[in-house]
């Protein structure tokens, strides 16, 4: 029985999606986390430290900005949740701060993580530096080449970056390598997953840490417009952590429209895409059942998106459930639509968004909202890391 869209059942299922499809070698570590995470997070001492770090270190609460010129253009009221103003430049740090505190309370000394674009790797390296813990980040060999500045940031923060050379040498393979590392180091190591994916309890834990986004939106809307509930919230979905955080406190409010935007890459029909709900089927990857892009034979397919953060063949199980139940509307934006949205935001509002977040902005062209509606778009990150792509788009020599 589905009690709530935002939390899984005892076994980690959101409807038919989720669970913990892990080999026995991971069981004890995952079970240790499952048995303890709720209690650890609920502990007042934990909450005190977590809130303090979110405020003084990450720079929360992030503003809810009324984008006047964007609103005028789309004939509605558009608010931007400014996760791009978080320390390290994206929402990822909300999660890594939470997980490093959990790791510390479980007595773990060695932290591992996977990263695609490098944003989660940087956010993990950051909190490891903060806590003086060893940090190992797995990153696909291809992504290491594409994301040199973030590799340098991780190294400067003291992390060891290990290239994932297996398979397609991108995010999914980095995740495989991180999981293998965890299997080989069953005692002292904590795996900080970067999105609402992985075996239960990871999707729930990460969603809880990111839920600060929608908690703040409610309070900020109440102050600005006298009601906590917008007409719709919009977020991009790679694994789905910024979306989970943006949707969380609205999922059980039926009046609020939920819009998730996946990366269509070159287009849904081009075999160069990452829109997992459109192109995938139910399947199992990285320990949970969800929508997965795969061949007829059940081999995982390589996704494509201009945005490395959305270049993942699956989505978190919470989103798979929102998709099949119809609670969420799943849209997608192509590389070009995302680029156009990024340039539009830069020109109209003086904000350069991350390419991932630009996919969420592109949804404003795809859904028409009424003049009096209040729409919140999650601006999950800033565009510094994407300048090379933007320069190419402008025809500027890099």
């Amino acid at each position: 029985m589905q009690v709530s869209y935002k939390q899984p059942d005892e076994q980690g299922y959101y409807g038919e999606f989720g669970g913990a499809y892990i080999p026995e070698m991971l069981y004890r570590n995952v079970e240790e986390l499952r048995e303890n995470y709720l209690e650890i997070i609920a502990d007042p001492a934990f909450q005190k430290e977590y809130q303090l770090l979110l405020t003084d270190y990450a720079g929360r609460a992030t503003p809810l900005y009324y984008a006047a010129r964007l609103s005028e253009k789309y004939g509605t009221n558009v608010y931007l949740k400014r996760e791009d103003l978080c320390h390290t430049g994206a929402h990822k740090v909300n999660n890594t701060i939470g997980q490093i505190l959990v790791a510390e309370r479980l007595g773990k000394k060695r932290i591992i993580a996977e990263t695609g674009a490098g944003q989660h790797g940087v956010a993990t390296a950051t909190v490891c530096a903060l806590k003086g813990l060893e940090c190992i980040v797995y990153m696909g060999e291809k992504d290491i080449e594409r994301q040199a500045p973030n590799v340098a940031r991780m190294k400067m923060l003291g992390a060891t970056v290990i290239p994932a050379k297996s398979g397609s040498k991108t995010l999914k393979d980095a995740t495989n390598e991180a999981i293998r590392d965890w299997i080989n180091n069953p005692n002292d190591t904590f795996y900080i997953i970067g999105s609402v994916v992985g075996p239960h309890p990871y999707p729930d834990m990460v969603a809880r840490f990111q839920s600060v986004i929608s908690k703040e939106i409610r309070a900020q809307l109440a102050e600005k417009i006298g009601t906590e509930l917008p007409h719709a919230v919009i977020a991009c979905v790679g694994g789905g952590s910024n979306a989970a955080g943006t949707f969380y406190h609205f999922l059980d409010e039926p009046s609020v429209g939920i819009y998730a935007v996946e990366a269509a890459g070159c287009g849904i029909d081009t075999h160069m895409s990452a829109a997992a709900t459109q192109l995938g089927k139910p399947g199992i990857l990285h320990g949970s059942k969800s929508f997965l892009m795969q061949t007829a034979d059940g081999q995982v397919e390589e996704p494509y998106s201009i945005s490395a953060g959305l270049d993942y063949p699956g989505i978190g199980p919470m989103h798979a459930n929102l998709f099949v139940t119809g609670r969420g509307t799943f849209l997608n934006a192509t590389d070009q639509e995302a680029l156009d949205a990024a340039f539009e935001l830069a020109k109209l509002e003086g904000i350069i968004p991350a390419l991932e977040s630009a996919h969420a902005l592109a949804a404003l062209n795809k859904v028409s909202f009424a003049k009096d509606d209040h729409i919140v778009v999650c601006l999950s990150g800033r565009g510094d890391k994407d300048m090379e792509t933007y320069m190419k788009a402008m025809g500027t020599k890099v």
Partner: protein, 256 residues
């Protein structure tokens, strides 16, 4: 009596189970490799179904899977290849692989086709006991297949007993909490295997992971009913053309 039960009844000790990847080193070498293993003295064959993202395996086995997939191996092709298997292979055969390809194939159809080909059991490391018990066990039982769970040094006694109760054929003791192919500190492994011995389990125990030669095989066999060799054999096959001779030589080295 089932083929697996038979092996352990006839030969309670030193049972040698060898892993090979279907479609490796060539897409058509599945049966020839199995034949070579049987001829060389293997007691059980663990036949790997290649998957793009084999989490519980190390680099060597993943690479062999990649080569097999590039060669065009699929589950449908595998069952096609296995149709004449029981005309030539009389030792037990256990399929090892990951849930996603099996789910896409259709779990029930998979069990039906495996049983029809004469497969004896299944190892699906990423199918946990909860989902097995609630959803899949009835299907596996209906087709008379054994199902084999893994245990590790970190698995508690209560959980070992539960996994033993859910398993049939044998129990797969991972010799250290590690992906296949890593070097092991055998002393710690021996302690763990001794602990398993004292539980008085229903199933025979085979030790897997890290077994590569006569020394590691005989040490593992001291505390268990036998052992499983994986990565070391795949490594030996790599780049070889005379599969029969390579296999004979490899197994001879293990059995002494």
């Amino acid at each position: 009596m089932s083929r697996l039960k038979d092996v352990f009844a006839k030969k309670g000790k030193n049972v040698l189970n060898v892993y090979c990847t279907a479609g490796f080193p060539q897409v058509n070498s599945t049966l020839p490799v199995m034949q070579a293993l049987q001829d060389s003295g293997a007691d059980i064959i663990e036949l790997g179904m290649p998957y793009s993202d084999p989490l519980a395996d190390g680099e060597v086995i993943q690479n062999s899977s990649t080569i097999a997939l590039q060669g065009g191996m699929t589950l449908s092709l595998l069952f096609e290849q296995l149709k004449p298997m029981r005309n030539q292979i009389h030792i037990p055969v256990v399929l090892m692989g990951y849930m996603n390809p099996v789910l896409q194939y259709g779990f029930e159809k998979f069990c039906a086709d495996a049983a029809a080909a004469g497969v004896d059991g299944l190892i699906l490391p990423d199918l946990p006991p909860f989902e097995f018990e609630t959803t899949y066990k009835a299907i596996v039982d209906r087709y008379g297949l054994s199902f084999i769970f893994l245990v590790t040094p970190e698995t508690s006694e209560t959980r070992v007993r539960k996994l033993d109760a859910l398993s049939s054929g044998f129990l797969y003791a991972v010799s250290s909490s590690s992906t296949t192919g890593n070097e092991k500190d055998f002393a710690a492994v021996e302690q763990y295997l001794e602990r398993l011995q004292h539980y008085g389990l229903n199933n025979p125990v085979l030790v897997g992971f890290g077994i590569k030669d006569q020394d590691t095989f005989s040490r593992a066999c001291k505390y268990a009913n036998g052992a499983i060799i994986g990565s070391a054999y795949i490594k030996a096959l790599d780049g070889q053309t005379d599969l029969a001779a390579t296999t004979r030589h490899f197994i001879k080295n293990v059995l002494g």
